[in-house]
């Protein structure tokens, strides 16, 4: 990533964190909806970004959200975990040539079907780890699953919406 990319990344990540912390965390739609949208910043990191760097970025973003929601360790654990899976997937199942292009998983850059599946799985895994860890007990697993389901669906919708609007803008810009 060039330094321009880094500046854009820092700005967009800050924007997403602000959206998450100031708006989404205070929505209280109902007890099952707890969508985490700031993970777009992690999802859309270039596919060839250094894995150790992606863990550190994930930890840092998680740390910020944790600090503002009084849940030390919770988001940082889930974020680092999901980045580890992302790396494992890219490392084992993806064509090396495609990987070396270093594109970002966004609309227009990748196949739409692949992007939808990628977004879905990434978002689900993150919410699964986050909410199971938050519950920290298997006593009410049914309601935890409901929470995971609703939160994931809502998060996917919001994420796709954001990805879609930003990709439109960037194509307009260029």
């Amino acid at each position: 990533m060039s330094s321009r990319d880094w500046i854009i990344f820092v700005l967009s990540a800050s924007g997403l964190l602000a959206l998450q912390i100031l708006v989404l965390n205070n929505l209280n739609l109902n007890q099952y909806m707890y969508p985490q949208v700031y993970i777009i910043a992690l999802m859309t990191l270039p596919i060839n970004v250094k894995h150790w760097l992606s863990y550190l970025i994930a930890f840092a973003l998680g740390f910020v959200v944790d600090t503002f929601s009084y849940t030390p360790g919770l988001h940082s654990f889930a974020a680092v975990f999901v980045m580890f899976l992302r790396y494992s997937y890219f490392n084992s199942f993806v064509d090396k040539e495609w990987l070396s292009t270093g594109i970002r998983p966004e609309f227009g850059n990748t196949e739409t079907v692949w992007l939808l599946a990628y977004t879905g799985i990434f978002t689900f895994v993150f919410h699964f780890v986050l909410l199971v860890l938050e519950e920290f007990s298997l006593n009410h697993f049914g309601s935890t699953l409901l929470k995971i389901g609703y939160s994931t669906l809502l998060a996917i919708l919001l994420i796709l919406l954001l990805l879609f609007t930003t990709s439109r803008q960037s194509t307009n810009d260029s």
Binding site: W52, D66, T71, G73, F77, V80, F136
Partner: protein
Amino acid sequence: MQSLLQFIRRNFHYFLFLLLQIISLFALIRFNRYHQSVFFNTASTFQGNVLNQRKSVISYFALKTENQRLKEENILLRTRGTENYIFIDTDSVTVKDSNRVVQYSYIPAKVIYNSIRKSKNYFTIDRGTKHNVRKGMGVISPLGVAGHVIDVTENFSIAMSILNEDFILTPKINGKVRYGNVRWDGKDPGVVQITRISDLYQVKVGQEVTTTEFGHFFPKDIKIGNVSSVEKSEKGKYWDIEVELATDMRQLGEVYIIKNRFRDELEELEKPYIDEQ
């Protein structure tokens, strides 16, 4: 050595990943009170039996002091019994108070794990939901206040110790309710502090500090300790009071868990009027 370094370098990201996960988990369990209590509780369920065995051996060595304590308690209870009082006024009519019901009952229990070294201390008790223990019940030793239950499993429960910075009580000093906070400053496990008591009240060394019914953890007049020092607060207008605990938290053994029959009802009623702290 060379190959070891190479191995570490090649797998650096795995180590980093594990390190970050361990840091997160540590933070999660160390700094989130809910996760902490679940963690210790699960751990205590596993360790419970081992600790129980250990305690049953160790309690033999403490039998003598424990007996002494029980004797003191017995004497106290006996002096409270009605047989100690005679009615001098033979003309008076005895009223059968059938409109009174027992509000507090006691569940005897043993402490199987206890900490006093941290700033937030907890202890584990060998009674759980099976024995009708619920969250929010007060715990006392034969000599005075010890803590209150914050988490329960089937056979065990965890109580927040009075030696925990998050534990707050409203005190009675010398029999009168004083709106201040009894709270431990995390230093001497034999001494707790009372803050925000107006200096308009007279407080003297040696006066008895007891509980109020506020908070519904304890019945009124359970002993907390005796005033051991009184000083003017630096903020003016207030006393800084130190109280020597009646309960020796270092030797916590036999305890009673206090069941308040009306706790749920009272909390339900008060909920809309009391801001969540």
